[in-house]
Amino acid sequence: MWSREQLAARAAKELQDGFYVNLGIGIPTLVANYIEHDQHIVLQSENGMLGMGPFPYAGEEDADLINAGKQTISTLPYSSFFSSADSFAMIRGGHIDLSILGAMEVAENGDLANWMVPGKMIKGMGGAMDLVAGVKRVVVVMEHVAKDGSAKFKPKCLLPLTGANVVDMLITDLAVFSRPDRNSKFELIELAPGVTVEEINAKTTAAFTLKAPMASI
């Protein structure tokens, strides 16, 4: 089983040198800590920035410089700013290589639900629907099961969707599922240390295929 930090580190392996990347709030934000030093990764913030830098040093916070989570950030030498319309033109137009997002549910057909918490006040989808509809590759990171132990990787999402057939890879604290394209089924390609295929089977209601050598892990 992977910790939050390990999950973020695993997700960071999906980054490729030269990628433009949008990271969601929560665990996805931690992914930035695991970017390889020889990789040139440019982070986009959907409120209107490319080249998002680290949190500022205390005393250097700038109220005019925040990320989509409303956290204070900093610039880098190659940063640029633009309007919300231009930012989402960038996202919707398929110019971002990768988005890493959290989820409440993922369905075996790639449907994603991550914007409405059942029984809670609806706060809105923010930019999540735009990201999953527009970004070239969508990687979801989430805990494998809900607090009550029920499966979150399911035959069908029960919560309202953020996007239909939009997930390319699912990384949970127990395993990694991937598919080569959006017409394919998810394949279990990796297990966290100490996790067995049997455990995954027990905690997953979605149908998925097994990578050939996986059975022997």
Partner: protein, 242 residues
């Protein structure tokens, strides 16, 4: 070609937020308000809007402020009938009014909201986008399937009044924004019958490099130099000095 005289458009400049909104407000109008969270919000104009006591407003704004700050002030005074937003967390009074059925909310995906406003300002009646296809956002909307992709039709959005915040403005109404405080401000400036801008620094026309202007003056009918900016930070996040 016109002779090179430069009569500055001083008529656009108003002494304060209250006078800048004079004659523009009436109950039931639609107001666009710039900003992302509390970043780049028109602080002075929001205060004047609250003090005007105008009611039953439809507010188009990405967020709804937080309690007592930004649009949160207008929620507290019950001046808002409806919000068109993408995300309204961080606001208890909002939640209370919404759950009590006192406040309507229309959620738009953030990029769809931005693009609808751009379309409204650009004379585009509507546009087809993949965003929201297959979700509740698509309900009741026209759609079409092209090469296996479903696109939904979203409509341009306009307002009676837009209030926006820029960093610097000149007497001609040309605006320059600063960092991520730009956000929804430039696009809202294009999409209202009347756009009122507030700036931290008002300078004479001719002060800006014309290649650096973000919002050309044509989009700004009135502007003021704002005062007493609080620029509240919602999530002060820092890293240790190593």
């Amino acid at each position: 070609m016109i002779p090179s005289v430069a009569i500055s458009n001083q008529r656009k400049v108003f002494p304060d937020a209250t006078s800048a909104l004079q004659g523009l407000l009436s109950d039931g109008i639609t107001v666009m308000s710039g900003g992302f969270g509390l970043c780049g919000i028109p602080e002075n104009l929001l205060l004047a809007l609250r003090d005007s006591s105008v009611k039953n407003l439809t507010i188009i704004s990405n967020n709804a402020g937080i309690d007592d700050v930004g649009l949160g002030m207008l929620l507290k005074t019950r001046q808002v009938k409806k919000m068109i937003s993408s995300y309204v967390g961080e606001n208890k009074e909002f939640e209370r009014q919404y759950l009590a059925g006192e406040l309507q909310i229309e959620f738009n995906p953030q990029g769809t909201l931005a693009e609808r406003i751009r379309a409204g300002g650009a004379g585009i009646y509507g546009f087809y986008t993949r965003t929201g296809a297959g979700t509740s956002v698509a309900e009741g909307k026209e759609s079409r399937i092209v090469n296996g992709q479903t696109y939904i039709l979203e409509m341009g959005l306009t307002a009676d009044v837009a209030i926006v915040k820029a960093w610097r403005g000149d007497t001609e109404g040309n605006l320059i924004y600063r960092k991520t405080a730009r956000n929804f401000n430039p696009v809202m400036a294009t999409a209202a019958r009347v756009t009122v801008a507030e700036v931290e620094e008002l300078v004479p026309a001719g002060s800006f490099d014309p290649d650096h202007i973000h919002t050309p003056g044509i989009y700004v009918q009135r502007l003021i130099q704002g005062t007493h900016y609080t620029k509240q930070i919602e999530q002060r996040t820092v890293r240790p000095r190593s």
